[in-house]
């Protein structure tokens, strides 16, 4: 049995997977990854089921050391510097740590969450079929709380499979799409227009429960208290101060503020990756368009294995990589023509 020992890690980092739907009627929110596409891509790279448990790494850096054998991993999501014992690990690729080697992840550049998937998954005791951390409910395994230095993630020894990269759709800064409702009739048409016409920023006080938005004040027609009703990931609720909160995977299952609109499911991961303080916009779409996008997104998730590629054996020009991708979460090193293969000579095979 191999394991990854966490040598250091920043806040807002936890084990997450596809979540535990099915008990929202009892007040238990599903939790799960903030960026489902990035989670699924990381797992696909190392041959896991797409929504297996992985480490959701927050905006700060982290270090993981392999013990007891080699460990094969993949890193996706927010772009950041990554290396194993000095060998650069490109975004959206797999790589293998030999026993005793350390994977170092830098600060996120232009995103918030990265996903570190481990070949063979993370050993733990699922509750309602999930290892995802929900700290408020005391759920999650192997630790029912955010990760901290000294924690150990037990896994299988690396298989020695060839390393892969995955070609994801190009990153986009297009507006985050919403459908109106369920309580858009609690707002005047001008207020709804203000949501669409304004630039918004995500406040630094945001977390996995909700993203607090900074922008113009959205006024209610009839006050800010409604009788509580159910919430979903992406509900844009407007509390008394008129500053919207987008509900995220650790939300309360019910809430008593009017919800002016809802982020479409295909854009939730993209919203989750917008760094605090960077301006962005919303765009309203029809239900029909939102559902077409939801089906396209499901198809993208389903066909991720078809996007796996062998890693070409050319040297990496990391500076060019940075220059080409200052903004994006989906750093596409292949298009930059600067691809690499980290030297695999010293990466251990199965033990």
């Amino acid at each position: 049995m191999s394991k990854l020992v966490i040598a250091s890690i920043g806040p807002a980092s936890s084990v997450q997977d596809g979540g535990r739907p099915g008990a929202q009627r009892y007040g238990l929110v599903p939790s799960g990854a903030m960026d489902r596409l990035a989670l699924a891509a990381a797992n696909t790279l190392v041959g896991n089921e797409p929504f297996a448990a992985a480490v959701e790494v927050g905006p700060f850096g982290a270090k993981f050391t392999a013990r007891g054998g080699a460990v094969r991993v993949a890193v996706t999501g927010a772009a950041r510097n990554a290396d194993i014992a000095g060998r650069t690990v490109a975004p959206d690729t797999s790589a293998t740590l030999a026993d005793g080697e350390t994977l170092t992840l830098g600060f996120a550049r232009g995103g918030s969450f990265s996903y570190l998937a481990i070949e063979g998954g993370i050993a733990g005791e699922p509750t309602f079929g999930s290892l995802a951390v929900n700290a408020r409910a005391g759920l999650g395994s192997p630790y029912p709380r955010p990760l901290q230095a000294g924690d150990e993630l037990q896994t299988k020894a690396a298989s020695g499979a060839p390393e892969r990269r995955i070609e994801l759709p190009a990153a986009t800064d297009a507006p985050i799409r919403v459908v109106w409702g369920p309580q858009d009739d609690e707002f005047a048409d001008e207020t709804k227009q203000l949501l669409i016409d304004s630039e918004w920023k995500i406040s630094a006080t945001s977390d996995r429960m909700g993203y607090r938005l900074e922008g113009p004040v959205l006024k209610h027609l009839h006050g800010h208290n409604i009788v509580s009703d159910g919430t979903v990931n992406g509900s844009i609720q407007v509390p008394g101060n008129g500053q919207p909160i987008v509900l995220m995977p650790d939300r309360g299952t019910s809430g008593g503020y009017p919800k002016i609109a809802t982020v479409i499911s295909a854009d939730l991961g993209r919203l989750a990756q917008i760094p605090a303080g960077r301006p962005f916009r919303f765009r309203a779409v029809s239900m029909a368009e939102a559902q077409v996008e939801a089906r396209k997104f499901a198809e993208l998730l389903r066909t991720l294995p078809e996007r796996l590629r062998a890693i070409e054996n050319v040297d990496l020009n990391i500076d060019a990589l940075h220059d080409a991708n200052v903004a994006g979460h989906a750093v596409n090193a292949v298009d930059a023509g600067t691809w690499h293969a980290a030297s695999l000579a010293d990466a251990a095979g199965p033990d």
């Binding site: 007040g27 509750t127 408020r136 009788v227 509900s235 939801a294």
Partner: protein, 243 residues
């Protein structure tokens, strides 16, 4: 005599959920229709419906848009909502022990003062109530009960507390509630119960269901302490008195 039921409003909650709204207010008749529709939907097993969340006034229906779209699911829901609401449905009834006042219910004295009565009278009114689980929400096992006596209605606290104990029994507005986990609350704390409405490694993990009937019974601090130990070991402590 057959009466025509007014159709609920179908409100979009993104591309993967519909809020089926029967009322904008806390309304007992609406809640009965919510729970009836919830049962109908469970029995109907519509392909693509993934889970439902009943609340006081609406039913949130989660679905997979790959399997069914908003319009088709909406039609089916409207048809089911026209089925008559059973006058009496066989529901479970629980008796939940509560230690009222003192360190266990730090707002009991203030509630009595505000309502111009005595703490004993507040307890008597609360124990006399016949409640129904209208919804469970916010955090695991937080059960919102309808049926609070008018004489106990009072506005929520101006300043919500950031931390209230696990097992808190409280009142707020026209509602009373059984809170399972420690957490924030703006309600008035009358007492505590040893009953865990949510407990891992117990079967069932969630004790109460939306629609269940609930009554309270007063116990002393010593009994509470004993029950708390038993509950920690996995006993229900709550007594199921029917059916």
């Amino acid at each position: 005599m057959a009466t025509t039921l007014s159709p609920p409003r179908l409100l979009p909650s993104g591309d993967s959920a519909i809020t089926v709204e029967f009322s904008r207010n806390i309304d007992d008749a609406a809640n009965r229709r919510v729970l009836a529709l919830d049962r109908e939907l469970a029995a109907e097993r519509i392909a693509g419906v993934t889970e439902t969340v009943p609340t006081y006034r609406s039913l949130l229906v989660h679905y997979d848009p790959v399997q069914i779209d908003f319009d088709k699911l909406g039609e089916k829901i409207l048809a089911l909502a026209q089925r008559p609401v059973p006058a009496t449905t066989k529901t479970r009834r629980w008796r939940i022990p509560v230690v009222y006042g003192g360190e266990h219910g730090i707002d009991l004295e203030d509630v009595a003062k505000t309502l111009n009565t005595t703490p004993d009278e507040v307890v008597a009114r609360h124990v006399a109530g016949d409640y129904r689980v209208a919804m469970i929400g916010f955090t695991p096992g937080w059960s919102y009960l309808s049926g609070l006596a008018d004489s106990l209605h009072m506005p929520r606290r101006q300043n919500p507390r950031l931390l209230t104990p696990a097992g808190t029994i409280s009142i707020g507005g026209v509602q009373t509630g059984v809170q399972c986990l420690a957490g924030p609350s703006g309600w008035h704390l009358l007492g505590r119960t040893a009953v865990r409405t949510y407990q891992l490694h117990r079967d069932p993990i969630f004790l109460l269901e939306p629609g269940d009937n609930v009554t309270f019974t007063a116990v002393d601090a010593k009994t509470f302490a004993e029950q708390d130990r038993a509950a920690e070991a996995g006993e229900f402590v709550a007594e199921q008195i029917a059916p």
